[in-house]
Symmetry: C2
Subunit: 475 residues, 2 copies
């Protein structure tokens, strides 16, 4: 493909995406294909000769599209949002077009410096503690996901707790970490990966609002110390996956400070809300945190992957993750004047992900982002009032920002019916969780284009689904 | 940004990239900016209001571009290639435009099924053992990098060696892994991350061609068993980073089979050569491997990130990496009929990376890929003949496919001069390594557009740099 062919086909792809974005609300939100249905349409062997680009685009439309679950649909209320936007898509495109590898400062200084700079912007936008800014001993880096960020935090904490021995000798003492019963599975996964074992993770009891109980945390730590275990990390959550619960960071932070434990805070979804001053309460106590992450790829209009990960001390992170083989040595790194982000993450290579974040912040402006976040939260509030007005339904947890957990009072069977019927109607996509061992419906508002009309339609269908099959409302 | 604005700005970005690809050979290959120079041009605060898209593109041209090291330049001979191509960029663009999250089959069946399918294509293209195809008990998955793939292999091997205890209890026995002294730093990093400690990694001596010595491997294993250690993994390399050395997989594989050790093979750069039947010798003995990875984002025209990772037994991998919280439960997963790739990797979320790989294979056709690979290897051969014809220079290792390690006979100082002078001329970018404790120049041919004229110019300048300053040949 010559540059001129690229130009022509590039315009075609851009047009296809523009059209897609214009009709994304027309598709069944959850793909209806059966297992194996996509593969059955693909040739068993790769083509020996070049195929025309038009054939590729045709297959995207005819074969791929029916197999897509439309995360960008305004009727997507499942899981958490994984939203995107025009400026982000174009930032990703530019990153692919430049095709740089940002493992070292020298291998593209702009890739590193723009990242450091934009993460400082983000720290300002969220009013994060100063120690997360690059002018301090800490700073920020883009990771692929909160799972990877939490793993990096855990590795830095592990290495610090063993005075630099765990990288060399392996895990040789009974290190123990703490998180709430409502924390994301990635904390457990990180414990496994890091060779600590999930048995060494204490799942602390939560309160009536599903937030970690600091009193129970303190008790568990004391019990572990008495038993000869070595507490080293608390992973707190701002906005749990199930219900959006917010752990009390101040109380937890005081315990961590007293006990000298690393405090990692995962605000993957909820963090973005702190762009609005009136929601910064969610971060109360964050000054105690040694590390923090949130995902602009969830609720800040940056397409996956883009997790912003901040640490209080960058040397704690690089001590855990840096290795310098001869073939990566270079003058700039040895001067000590630059950041080499390969030492802040698991993989060696890295894309130029700061471009899309930069594009989004500049295209929206801080006020533009605030405006969308406020709309989403207001829509969730409105939904709560509708639930309250229907005696058949109830809230299953307090609304948390843009997330509503609710249920039909008729028990699990009818709630499962609502899930199945709304899903198969194609008109919206909800997912579930369990709270107090009851099936709970989750409605998460966060797709860029979700407006009041979409919420109204969703609520109408949910109520209908409680009493009858919905049929196929879309195609 | 409305769909119509996206269309307009998208065309602008595509045009910018087409122009960039047409002039990429005109830039100094290695960026000349000084540390801090990019950041100094950026506003300290994020903008409160939206900025016009034209301003973003202007800043890309004026601020970002000077800070780019041009990995896509035909004069880039450093490290390993991280090449790209038009179809790949457009596949990445489509992936960003669809904005799906492929963590579960259900969250976009096409994302999962296309990936499984295209990885079967790749296995056919490289003539990999049948046990890496999805019709067997194994299969393939796209990872971000070989570092992550090797970590996943190591975790699966660790869990298997401890009969499922290491995830639960942590690392409680002295597990030992083996790799060559020339292996990539990612193996050491994986040992650290996994809580095993790099002290438990044996760096096996290599032969005169820098390949792992199976006799030494067998001796070390015996010594470890005698000492009460528990050998569990050998990480072999096809194409080491320093010199492209190829470990003898057959002999290593026989040892692994006899000793019941997991054999992981990292062919990150070299693997692509197996697309050409005449180069499949590099994979002789791969039938012994439990896992294998190579990077289309290095030498198969797919932009970063795209590592293809294959395992013999998918259950060994998912036993190490799967966790199922309530909020991810769904009918399709519970049917057991589908693959959920979140269980094959470290992070939970994942992009639709199969699209770009599919686009590249279909746009080039297998023959088109073979054709470029053969050109690169032939250019490297030619370069070797030039080195041989100049008595001041010598090869420092046998040529390996597209990688030539060579040096001036005048010692480290003059070789360092050649590096510095060619680098500061802007006309080409070489990197170095050390072999037998001598500074060695590496010339890696792998950018898509590198032609004979670029090699000729590079060689002329290298010879000149041995005797004089080159000045500023570009800009």
């Amino acid at each position: 493909m010559t540059p001129e062919e690229f130009r022509r086909h590039g315009h075609q792809v851009v047009d296809w995406i523009a059209d897609y974005l214009g009709r994304v609300d027309q598709f069944p939100v959850l793909s209806r294909v059966q297992p194996g249905e996509i593969r059955a349409q693909l040739p068993k062997q790769p083509p020996q000769q070049s195929e025309p680009f038009g054939d590729l685009l045709r297959d995207v439309e005819e074969i791929v599209l029916p197999g897509i679950t439309h995360w960008q649909s305004p009727n997507f209320f499942a899981f958490f949002p994984c939203n995107s936007s025009g400026p982000s898509i174009l930032g990703e495109l530019l990153s692919a077009g430049l095709g740089v590898q940002g493992m070292l400062w020298a291998t593209s200084p702009a890739c590193t410096e723009l990242e450091t700079h934009v993460l400082d912007w983000v720290a300002q936008m969220l009013a994060l503690p100063d120690h997360f800014q690059s002018k301090s001993q800490g700073g920020g880096v883009i990771q692929d996901s909160a799972s990877s960020a939490s793993l990096c935090a855990l590795l830095a904490a592990r290495e610090q707790a063993t005075q630099g021995e765990s990288n060399r000798r392996g895990v040789y003492c009974p290190l123990v970490a703490y998180t709430s019963q409502q924390a994301h599975s990635s904390i457990e996964k990180a414990m496994r990966i890091a060779g600590l074992g999930d048995r060494q993770l204490r799942r602390i009891e939560t309160d009536t609002q599903f937030a970690l109980r600091p009193d129970r945390l303190a008790e568990e730590i004391a019990r572990d110390r008495a038993a000869g275990n070595v507490p080293f990390l608390v992973a707190a959550t701002v906005g749990t996956t199930s219900s959006g619960a917010i752990d009390p960071l101040s109380s937890i932070g005081e315990i961590c400070q007293r006990e000298r434990l690393w405090l990692h805070v995962d605000a993957a979804m909820a963090g973005t809300a702190a762009v609005c001053p009136e929601h910064r309460l969610i971060h109360q106590g964050l000054e105690f945190a040694d590390s923090y992450c949130f995902n602009p790829h969830k609720w800040m209009f940056v397409n996956f992957d883009c997790d912003c990960f901040f640490v209080r001390r960058r040397d704690a992170l690089t001590r855990a993750l840096s290795i310098l083989p001869e073939y990566l040595r270079n003058t700039a790194s040895e001067s000590g004047e630059v950041i080499d982000y390969r030492d802040w993450q698991i993989p060696l290579g890295r894309r130029f992900r700061a471009l899309k974040l930069w594009f989004v912040i500049r295209s929206f402006g801080v006020e533009g982002i605030q405006c969308v976040i406020r709309r989403h939260i207001q829509l969730a509030e409105q939904f709560v009032s509708w639930v309250g007005a229907n005696p058949d339904f109830e809230l299953a947890a307090p609304r948390s920002l843009n997330l509503v957990c609710f249920r039909h009072r008729g028990g699990d069977t009818i709630n499962q019916q609502i899930l199945d019927r709304t899903e198969s109607s194609g008109a919206l996509y909800l997912t579930h969780t369990r709270l107090h061992d009851e099936l709970v419906l989750r409605l998460s508002v966060g797709q860029f284009d979700t407006q009041q009309e979409h919420l109204e339609q969703a609520w109408a269908l949910i109520q209908k689904a409680a009493v009858q099959e919905l049929g196929d409302l879309k195609v």
